[in-house]
Structure formats: structure tokens, C-alpha cells
């Protein structure tokens, strides 16, 4: 019964049916998958609705949807991928426009779903293995496809998101039950609580009634509110039947597999695991020992909730395309007998989180900015290094490429110049894309008593330290918000933002403003999944001292003080690399205010619990 396919109702070899919107039964999802060619694949008593996009001579990427969904959940991702690949989507049996098995009970076992997959794969790509992508239940079943023997050689790669293998899950639970350490019990209880809906779906009739009743009508609103899925033509009108039929996915498989998980569920294809950190239904701990089951595992982490195909399509498409390309090239080179050299993946900290993302750092020609650019480059991000110093920025970009950035560019811009920033933003968005992370780091130092600080000095320091940040946040932040797929803004404030000092009135003022700006912006952008962090480094060994302005002294004295303070900062010798690590951590954890050096942490603590001590310290004048 497996693998039998029939192209029904279509003429021509390719099963072309013209525009998807012009044909087909049911009438759902017409505009959602614009330009799709449709065909019907008959297998095991059901007819599956298969849609194809893109050039059929390109590698085939097969997208499998989850519960309660239909193939239209992939519409955004598919649109991005179809520019480069032959994208195939199908409605799982009983979902969307595919027919349901009769009877429903026993019709949704993983074995039957594997038959469906093989039938579709044979129909759309008879000669070449396909690249499998699954979300939610699509991923659960794809894990079955990729771990059973009969699909060997049919799958070139597998990208999994938000759907563990039931067998791995079964072993995961068993391990934690048989040797329950406190940590393991915690993990078990945590996932147990997240699986509440699974228990409900095992009750008879109730889920069907709920979906046909209030849950079905409220679902789009729930998705929008809880999952922040953008409004539009998703979910499709078939939702109620999808959800009712799909309940059998759980009933037919979950108990059986969790009770007796297969012992040989090893993946025979390379796997890319994309873990959304904010998934309400699945704990990231589920994948702790996945390397045991999938030897060729690439991990990715995404800040997002469960429905990432709707909320983060660009990022998913980029990672899928990257993974497919890598394994397509590998497959070709091994087929030609050439030595298979696995391209060196970026190995730095948080490479799973920042791989392929676009990061812009201002003040990237030296110090903390340069170190931050390098840290992101090591994590595999694409880096735009911005600075007034063209040579320094170029150098940063060049070295970034050497240590793992797939691409890096240098831009010479003065952040205090609004027009230049506008132009930069325009160029970045057209040539490189919308930023995933923005680091507003450029800043200058200014020391001297308040009365020695001229209006000119004030203007200069506020222009760079404050207006530079404002321009960056406003122009690039707007682009991030418009894209609506999250992002992060990091602003470099300073310990001087909460530690007053008679020696740094202008500098501290500018940095305090940056700190408050970051806090306000964080509140405003939280609803759009854009995080904002303020970094307060403290005394870090960078060249800010060597270029700082000392108000109220002549040039020779200024030179001497620059030298002296540089020496002192050198003695303190806190490396900018550690600040860069703090920046990456802040983005990953979405921290609001991050003091870095011990003195900065101490001052931050004191600013809250012992502000008078800080005020006393502020009266001390450092002798340089």
C-alpha cells in the first residue's frame, strides 16, 4: 500500500495545475500559497493535497505542518525558500484539503504517516532525496521518518522545530523516572506541566466538541494574543476539522510510543534542531542528550514562541536554506568521490543563537565595539562594523570574516550625523537586510569640572553619546519593528550612568540618559518582541581614555592626563572581550541592565541600597 501514488485530475508530467488559486477542492488557502502548483497523491486510502513552489530542478525541501494546522502554516517560510529551492508542502491526512482515513481511530499511526511521506517524496522527487522540515507534529512524524530504515536514502537532511521524537521523549521520561535526581524530577515536572493539552486531547469527544465550538472560534484570537502570531489569512478556515482529526495523532501514537519507545531510533540523516526559547509546550531540556540519537546534529536557538513558522519566517528560511545548501554540497562532493570536508561551523559562544544573523555595531573600530563585533563574528553572525575611523572599521570587518562571520562589512559613518545614519540604514536594509541585533556602542569621553566644560564640549559629547544612540534606536529600531519578527537593541551606557562623579559631569549625564532611554524603549518595544539592553561596563582597558577630552586644561596637560589615565586603565586591565561576552549574554537572556566589571556591579548595587555612599564617592576628585 505504501508508496503508491496517483496524480489525479491534472494533466502533464509535472502535475501542473496553474495557479493554486484557480483550482482545487475545498477552496481553502487559495491566496495563502500564491503561485503554488497543486497535485494529489493517493496513498493508503487517502488523498493528499500537495503544493509545489519554485524550480523543480532545484533541491527539494519538503515542509510538514503540525497540529492544529494545515500546510498554509508554512506560507511565509515557503515563499522565502521558493526563490532558491523546489518547495513542497502537503496537508497531513485528515488536515487541510487532504482526505481523512476511515475509521479515524488507528488511521494516524506513525507507520501510516511514514507511508504518506514516502508517497509524496516519490511523487515530487523520485530520483533525489528530499530535505525534510517539520514543525510541531510535522517534526514529531519527521523524526519517525528520519529514524526508520525504510526511508534511508530518501532524506538528505532534516530540520526539526518544536517537535521531539516520541521515542526519544519516551527514553527521556524513562531515564528521569528510573533515576530521579532532583534536577531530573524538576525537568520531568516542568515538561509534565507544559503537556497539559496532551492529556486533554486523550479524552473522548470533548476536544472535538471544543474545537467545533468556542475554541475553534476563539483560536485565531488566542494565537494573536498569546503567541503573537500576526493577523492575516492564517489560520485557514479548515481549522476546526484539522484540530478535530488531528486529535487522533495524539491518541494513536503518544501512549503507545511513550510506553514502549523504539530502541533503535537513530537518525540516518543530518539533523538541524531549532529550539524556540519561549515555547509554551516544550521544554528545551527535552533535547539535552539528542546527540546520542542524532550524531550529525546542528543546534539553533531562536527567541520566539511555539509558532515560529508564523512569527519568525525569515530566520527559519535562512537557517533551512543554509542547512540544505551545506548538505546539498556535501552530498555532491561525496558523490563525486571528493573528500567530504564538513565546512567549519562557527564554534563561538552562542553560535546556535546568532548563526547567520545580521548584527550592526557602532564604534566598531576599537575597544568594546570591536570586541563585540568579533564575539558576534565568532558566533557566526554577519557583522556590519560602523565607525568614523574607516581603517579601523575595515580592519574589524576583515578580521571578523577570518574568525567565522559568513560576511562582514565596514561602514564609515559618524553616528551623530542623522542624515548619514538614515543613509546607512537605507543601505543596510537594501543590501544586507533588516538587523537582528543593533549595538549602539560608539561613545567619547569627556572629563573636567562642570564650569570648565564649555557648551561646545557638552554638544560634542551629547551628540555622540546620546544622539548617536537615539538615531540608531529610532532608525534601525523602526526597521526591526516594521519587519515584526523580533530583534534586539543593545546600548552601551556606563557605570557612570548611576555613579555620580564631579570629574565626569557631561559624560555621566549622557550615559544616564542612554540608560533611561534604553529602559523606556524596552517597555515600548516589549510588545513587538524586540529586547533592549543597557550595558554598563565600568573601567575597561580601551582607548577611550587616550582620545578623551579633558576640559579646562591646555593641550600638553590634556595629553599627559590621557596618558596617565590610559596607564591606570591598563593597570586595571579589564579586557573589552569580557564586556563583549556580557553583550552576547544580555541579548540571549534579554537582560535590561547589565553592569559588567566588579566596580560597576558594586556601584549598581549601592545606587539602589546605599546611594549616600555613592554621593560621598562622587565628591572625590581623582588626581591624574
Amino acid at each position: 500500500m505504501s508508496g503508491q501514488s496517483r496524480q489525479s485530475g491534472q494533466s502533464g508530467l509535472g502535475g501542473q495545475s496553474g495557479l493554486g488559486g484557480l483550482s482545487g477542492q475545498g477552496g481553502q488557502g487559495r491566496q495563502v500559497l500564491a503561485g503554488a502548483r497543486e497535485r494529489w497523491v493517493r496513498t493508503g486510502g487517502v488523498e493528499l493535497c500537495v503544493a509545489e513552489l519554485g524550480d523543480a530542478s532545484q533541491p527539494t525541501v519538503l515542509l510538514v505542518h503540525g497540529y492544529p494546522d494545515s500546510k498554509e502554516v508554512w506560507s511565509e517560510v515557503a515563499a522565502h525558500l521558493s526563490e532558491r529551492f523546489h518547495v513542497v508542502l502537503y496537508d497531513v491526512r485528515g488536515h487541510g484539503r487532504s482526505t481523512a482515513p476511515t475509521p479515524l481511530r488507528g488511521g494516524f499511526t506513525l507507520e501510516k504517516l511514514t507511508d504518506d511521506f514516502l508517497a509524496v517524496a516519490d511523487a515530487v522527487s523520485p530520483d533525489r532525496p528530499v530535505h525534510l522540515v517539520g514543525h510541531d507534529w510535522g517534526s514529531v512524524q519527521s523524526w519517525e521518518f528520519v529514524t526508520v530504515r525504510r526511508t534511508e536514502g530518501r532524506i538528505a537532511s532534516f530540520t526539526s522545530m518544536s517537535g521531539p521524537s516520541l521515542d526519544h521523549f519516551g527514553h527521556w521520561i524513562k531515564k528521569r523516572m528510573t533515576r530521579p535526581t532532583p534536577r531530573r524530577v524538576g525537568q520531568l515536572l516542568g515538561q509534565g506541566a507544559k503537556s497539559w493539552y496532551v492529556y486533554l486531547l486523550h479524552t473522548p469527544v470533548l476536544p472535538e466538541l471544543a474545537w467545533r465550538g468556542p475554541l475553534g472560534s476563539q483560536w485565531p484570537k488566542i494565537l494573536r494574543r498569546v503567541e503573537k502570531v500576526p493577523a492575516g489569512d492564517y489560520p485557514t478556515p479548515s481549522l476546526r476539522t484539522d484540530a478535530a482529526h488531528g486529535a487522533w495523532l495524539y491518541r494513536d501514537n503518544v501512549r503507545a510510543r511513550l510506553r514502549r519507545p523504539r530502541a533503535d531510533a537513530y537518525a540516518h540523516a543530518p539533523v538541524q534542531l531549532i529550539t524556540p526559547t519561549g515555547d509554551l509546550f516544550l521544554s528545551p531540556k527535552l533535547y539535552e542528550e539528542l546527540e546520542l540519537w542524532a550524531p550529525q546534529l546542528t543546534r539553533r536557538t531562536l527567541a520566539g514562541k511555539h509558532w515560529v513558522p508564523r512569527t519568525r519566517p525569515e530566520q527559519l528560511a535562512a537557517w533551512i536554506a543554509d542547512f540544505v545548501r551545506t548538505h546539498e554540497d556535501l552530498g555532491l562532493s561525496s558523490a563525486q568521490g571528493a573528500a567530504v570536508a564538513r565546512p567549519k561551523a562557527a564554534a563561538g559562544r552562542h553560535a546556535d543563537r546568532f548563526g547567520g544573523q545580521l548584527v550592526l555595531v557602532t564604534g566598531a573600530a576599537s575597544g568594546i565595539g570591536r570586541a563585540t563585533a568579533f564575539a558576534f563574528a565568532e558566533a557566526g553572525a554577519r557583522v556590519v562594523a560602523v565607525d568614523r575611523d574607516a581603517d579601523g572599521a575595515a580592519r574589524t570587518a576583515e578580521l571578523s570574516r577570518l574568525i567565522g562571520a559568513p560576511a562582514a562589512w565596514a561602514e564609515t559613518v559618524d553616528v551623530s550625523d542623522e542624515q548619514a545614519m538614515e543613509k546607512l540604514a537605507e543601505k543596510v536594509s537594501t543590501e544586507y537586510g533588516v538587523l537582528d541585533v543593533l549595538v549602539n556602542n560608539a561613545g567619547i569621553g569627556l572629563s573636567g569640572s562642570f564650569f570648565d566644560t564649555t557648551a561646545e564640549d557638552w554638544k560634542k559629547v551629547l551628540d555622540v553619546n546620546l544622539w548617536g544612540v537615539i538615531h540608531g534606536c529610532r532608525i534601525f529600531g523602526q526597521q526591526m519593528a516594521d519587519r515584526g519578527q523580533g530583534g534586539h537593541i543593545v546600548n552601551t551606557a556606563s557605570a557612570a550612568a548611576y555613579q555620580p562623579s564631579r570629574a565626569l559631569p557631561a559624560y555621566s549625564t549622557s550615559k544616564a540618559a542612554v540608560l533611561m532611554l534604553s529602559e523606556c524603549l524596552r517597555a515600548e518595544l516589549a510588545g513587538q518582541d524586540i529586547g533592549v539592553s543597557a550595558i554598563c561596563p565600568g573601567i575597561v582597558n580601551t582607548n577611550i581614555t587616550a582620545t578623551a577630552r579633558f576640559a579646562g586644561v591646555d593641550a600638553a596637560e590634556e595629553k599627559r592626563r590621557q596618558k596617565k589615565s590610559s596607564r591606570l586603565y591598563g593597570l586595571r586591565n579589564f579586557p573589552p572581550e569580557r564586556v563583549a561576552d556580557a553583550v552576547l549574554d544580555a541579548v540571549v537572556k534579554n537582560q535590561a541592565v547589565v553592569p559588567v566589571t566588579p566596580e560597576s556591579r558594586g556601584a549598581y548595587l549601592m545606587s539602589r541600597f546605599a546611594p549616600r555612599t555613592l554621593r560621598a564617592i562622587a565628591r572625590w576628585e581623582p588626581r591624574l
Binding site: S366, F374, E378, G392, R395, L399, L402, E577
Partner: protein
Amino acid sequence: MTSAVMSELSAELRGFREVQALAYECAEAVAAQLRPGVTEREAARMQREWLRERGVRDWFHLPFAWFGDRTAFVGFRVPLQFFPTHRKLEPGMPFILDMAPVHQGYTSDIGYSGCLGLNPVHDRLLADLQTHRELILREVRERRPLREIYESVDRLMVRQGYANRHRAYPFGVIAHKVGRIRERRWSPTVFGFGTQALKGLAGDAIHGHRDGWSPLWSPYRFSDHPPQPGLWAVEPHLGFRGTGAKFEELLVVTDSRDPEQSAFWLDDDLPHVRRWAEDAV
């Protein structure tokens, strides 16, 4: 300077040049034998044995070998970490061989950086060391205080985007003086350093302390003096995110007024210099 003094000097320099060439020959021979799986200890022993077979009996310091991120002294806290470990060499790993043999009373101190297979970061570091070699010579000829030259090198490194790793050496030195050593039948070492060489260094330190100079070229105040005539083993060491590269060779400083003669590298026919010349072509 009379010609007699000059020829005496050049005879002496020839001795230093020969032992430096010998040491670099050793470095190249050992580097050619390095394979994946060789440990730092084995590499150090290979250097020691190679030089012993060729008549080296005393050391300024015993050979060192650093592999992988140890070339950038990542996580070094105590001096004992400089000594070779059981770290194994892997493909693509950078390595540094550093040895200071004494041969017929002449001391040399060299550092050789390489990598097993391809490592673009390492290549870049090595290429960027060229400007440091030029900078040091230029500023020594200008008779600038050693501390200031140290800071210039530091600034150049920062501009290049690298970290100063010679700071991790004892006293943070970028260079130290070497001289002739009397050959003894028994030449023990203490913590890897030859006692005779240490004696010479200590003697220099005492003399220098009286006259206001130091045999250690450091970032500290005791190096705030113009270059002292003699032979300096100069070892700028760059580090960049877990990859390190250095060269070390002898710089001759004289009291000549002719800038060309006042300071020059003992030998320009060295692996890293040849490499730069090849890259330039």
C-alpha cells in the same frame, strides 16, 4: 670605532648568528616532524634532543612548545603553565616553538610560530608581525626610551585588533638582554632557565640598577631609558581569540652614531623574514 674593535665585534656577532641559525634550523626541523597527536612535551623533547646532538650543552632556557589556544596563553595565571603539557596537536592548530640554546658560549633565544595545515587567522597574525619588526627597529634607532617603544608596539597591536600576549611573560617583557656565557662542565637549570644565563642576567640587573637601566625591556618604570648597547632577544607576541603568534630574534644595539649601525637585526635570513619576502613577491 677602530677596525680592530669592529672585527672583534663582528667575530662575536658571527658566533651569535651561527647559534641563532642553528636554533632556527632546529625549529624548522622539529616543525616539519609535527603530526596530529604529538604532545607539547614530545615537541619540547624533540627540540632538546635535536640540539643536544649538535653540541648544545647549556640553555638560556629549555625549549618550550605551545599548541592551540596555549599559543595565546589563554587562561594562564601562574608561570608554571608555560611549561609543555600533554596537549595534543590537531589539524589546523597553531603552535609555537621557543628555545634558547647556548652553543660554545653564545646564547640565542628564538621563537618560531607555525600551524598544522590551514589556519587563516594564524597566517594573518604572522603577516602582521612584520610591521612590529620594522617599528621596533625604527624606534630603537631613534633612541627612544624602551618603555615608550613598548607602548608604541602595544598601540600598534591594539590598532591591528590584537591583544598583547608578551605581557604574560615574567615581568611582562617584550625583550631581554642576552650575552656570552662561560661554558661549564655542569650546567644545571632552575625552573627551565640555565643558571649561568640567570647569573648573567642578574649581573646585568645589578650593573643596570646602578647605571639606571635594566636588562628587561618591560612596560614598567625601570625600562624608562634609551636602548642599552648589547644583544636583545626581542619577542613581540600577538594574540587573537585563542590564536597566538610571535617571533623572537636577536637585535644588536651599539653605541654607534650612525643610525644604520646603531641598531640592526642580527640576521635577516630567518624563516619569518623569508616568508614575508615571499608574500611580498
